[in-house]
């Protein structure tokens, strides 16, 4: 059957049971759902919106095929005729969203869906799945970008990313957030992301001596060989590079750089730099990897380790210190009436909303207001229409444009929010008085209805 990425069966079963109930009870009015994050993980001071392009691709193309409908018919859960109704289902609604790369904070909708309730409910799970994951990664990657202080970072994390789509989309989200590129070859043709590669320990091990491995690899990539020098002893490896460099130079082969992947990277990079410099290899760069995250990158940069660029792997692609966000997609209005849930710890603000952001004279963001779409507040509105009547209002921006937007957004963060570690100041997100009043109205109406039944 179809892979999971484009299948509308990649959803929670309850979306389909609810769809049957909506269908049977003729509930076809318009609903408003908003996607937002309830609270920040303790390790994050801000978030970066990402994944919109893939979510819109999915929304535009979502439909059931015969095989999927066959399962729905056979599985025993659903009523006769339901699959026939599903066959015609398409998304015909509108979507507003923050552009990818936008910095955002808790309780701010980053995506708003307005559509007949079945259409909006249907797609909840996969919209969340796509936007949540890339937002997790972009938010993690942005921290590393800030920590690296303009040194290039490369995504090295495919092997321990959670599956194929996570690997591919983590490369995209990291690039969006300011990484220089990825080791994931697929991301080159698929997203136009620069792809970088060096060599693995196995290559060195497969040769009977390390110098031979270096010679072979350099001969195969005479302009840009990066040699991995820590398989046996890092400083010895650097000496071997220094020894073979003149021989290679005679053949017109240049060693672009060396990679360190283990041990005390600060001390080793200095020792390796001395060996290379003493051999006249001042242009041979040092690249570092090996269990790096933004904290370790920051420590190496701050210490002045002579490392030109970094590979960041597992910690990035699994966002290991905060592998998920409290991201939700909640009904805020149905049939023209605002709605909210009041579950303990999970209450929502009702109504369809916009977010306004104010900057100070230094162009730092100083506070946001979450307001109803009927209100106007000072500052820039962050959500824009991206889909109307089920079709994009314009093509999604090229990834390079989203990446530039993200860089500009990160530049609006006040220094206190750019710090790697808490405590951070709480960024002010004001809920407008009209929303608060609406919440009271909804509660009152719901209590009255409960009494009247």
């Amino acid at each position: 059957m179809k892979g999971p990425s484009a299948s509308p069966l990649l959803t929670d079963l309850y979306q389909l049971t609810m769809l049957q109930a909506y269908w049977q009870h003729r509930m076809h009015d318009s609903a408003v759902f908003e996607l937002f994050v309830r609270k920040l993980p303790p390790q994050r001071a801000f978030l970066v919106a990402a994944g919109l392009e893939q979510a819109l691709d999915f929304i535009e193309q979502a439909r059931f095929d015969d095989e999927e409908l066959g399962w729905i018919t056979r599985c025993g859960t659903f009523a006769p005729g339901f699959a026939d109704w599903l066959r015609e289902l398409r998304f015909s609604g509108d979507v507003w969203a923050m552009p990818e790369g936008t910095v955002f904070f808790p309780n701010e909708p980053i995506l708003r869906v307005v559509a007949p309730i079945a259409e909006a409910q249907w797609l909840e799970t996969r919209i969340l799945n796509l936007v949540h994951f890339q937002t997790v990664i972009a938010s993690k990657a942005a921290r590393a970008v800030l920590a690296a202080d303009d040194r290039p970072l490369i995504d090295f994390g495919l092997r321990r990313a959670h599956g194929s789509e996570a690997g591919a989309l983590a490369a995209r989200a990291a690039y969006l957030a300011g990484f220089a590129g990825t080791a994931t070859a697929y991301a080159g043709p698929r997203f136009g992301i620069p792809v970088f590669g060096t060599m693995a320990h196995s290559f060195v091990q497969a040769h009977d001596d390390e110098a031979q491995a270096f010679m072979h690899f350099a001969a195969s990539f005479p302009e840009n060989a990066m040699l991995l020098i820590d398989t046996y002893d890092t400083v010895e490896g650097a000496r071997r590079v220094a020894e073979i460099a003149p021989r290679l130079a005679q053949r017109g082969i240049r060693i672009k750089g060396v990679r360190l992947d283990s041990g005390d990277l600060d001390a080793l990079s200095r020792a390796v730099r001395r060996v290379l410099d003493d051999a006249g290899l001042r242009d041979t760069v040092i690249f570092a990897s090996g269990n790096l995250d933004e904290q370790r990158v920051h420590a190496l940069v701050t210490a002045g380790a002579p490392i030109t660029s970094f590979g960041v792997g597992t910690s990035l692609t699994t966002s290991s210190d905060a592998p998920y966000l409290d991201a939700v997609y909640k009904l805020q209005e149905y049939a023209g009436r605002a709605r909210r849930k009041r579950s303990t710890g999970k209450a929502t603000w009702p109504g369809r909303k916009q977010v306004f952001r104010c900057l100070d004279e230094s162009s730092h963001c100083v506070g946001d207001t979450v307001a109803l779409t009927t209100e106007t507040f000072p500052g820039e509105p962050l959500l824009a229409e991206v889909l109307r009547g089920g079709r994009r209002v314009a093509p999604s921006p090229p990834l390079a444009v989203a990446r530039a937007h993200c860089a500009a957004q990160l530049a609006t963060l006040a220094p206190a929010l750019r710090r790697l570690d808490p405590p951070w100041p709480s960024y002010p997100v004001m809920i407008s008085p009209a929303i608060r009043a609406l919440a009271d109205d909804v509660d009152h109406r719901q209590a009255t209805a409960a009494l009247a039944q």
Copy 2:
């Protein structure tokens, strides 16, 4: 272009640069790579092998298509003719592996690949990506299964899984480890896993009163409606269920259960149980969800909360307390000679290996020996041949068989290892004297080669 899941471009670029070097330098001898976990995360006492079936599917089918080869030709990294050589590349080697569901420990190979070095190197990244992820999830899920003490668990985590493949494969890995099923519809037709669904808060909110929502949903699923009762007030929600139940019963509609998704689940489940029992609804079960993990499930079970089954979501599908393992795929032999790396903190044991496991008279596993394949030790050998000459020696076992194997494996864990929290006893994994002697030989040979150059 092709999605990432079946693309051999979903790999680290360095696998391809190394392939070019192997090709140019005519290094086509046989290599042995082994996949193992270097150490346990602090939150795990044991691991559960999973993902083999998908890895073997990938290995059997891996080949480059024209579009992928076109990018390799155009991207500027590779030599003329390399893409033509890649076009013919197929995996022709052998694979040995632990069956899915096998419990294992650090330094034990769970998969061994023997093939011409380019073929084995080529597929490293995706093999790791597939086996690592499902092993992460199965290992996490097994903890929840042990914690739940035979109460059924349902995977609820698709929305915050890391992409589509992670969502689908997490459902599979959790079921393999003993979950009763998943909310992910796709996993039904794709893997034959039982799929469960209730209703969401949005369904309740879309109705002007909660009782009406319950009536609608129950009417649509007259035999197995599970009603979500915490949208406004959980105990009030239970009272509403009690009120409408007689009216529904007259129409032949039975409420199967209620779901709690927020608040103090222990106290609320007891209060709800009383309300339901007082109304004669003793067969109406209570299902609980909401930020659950194995710790919270265990606490509720231990406290005797009247909850029949649990939905476990984000903590499961992201393995949030240990979102990755230190899983690696390392060259252990090339051209008939054992190989090892000695990088700080990342040294490997050379040679091609088997793992033998001993059980005591209570059928608890008491110690493993990692040995060369030429050795024999007491106990059961855990790796079996699964692929020969690039083809499976037998079809992968049905998921139900792997699930039964996993249950049997978990039963071999001594009580001390089944505990949820550290400190755990260190499980004995002995490295055979022959492997240690081989490591010394390899080091000596490598040092001699380095001196001789």
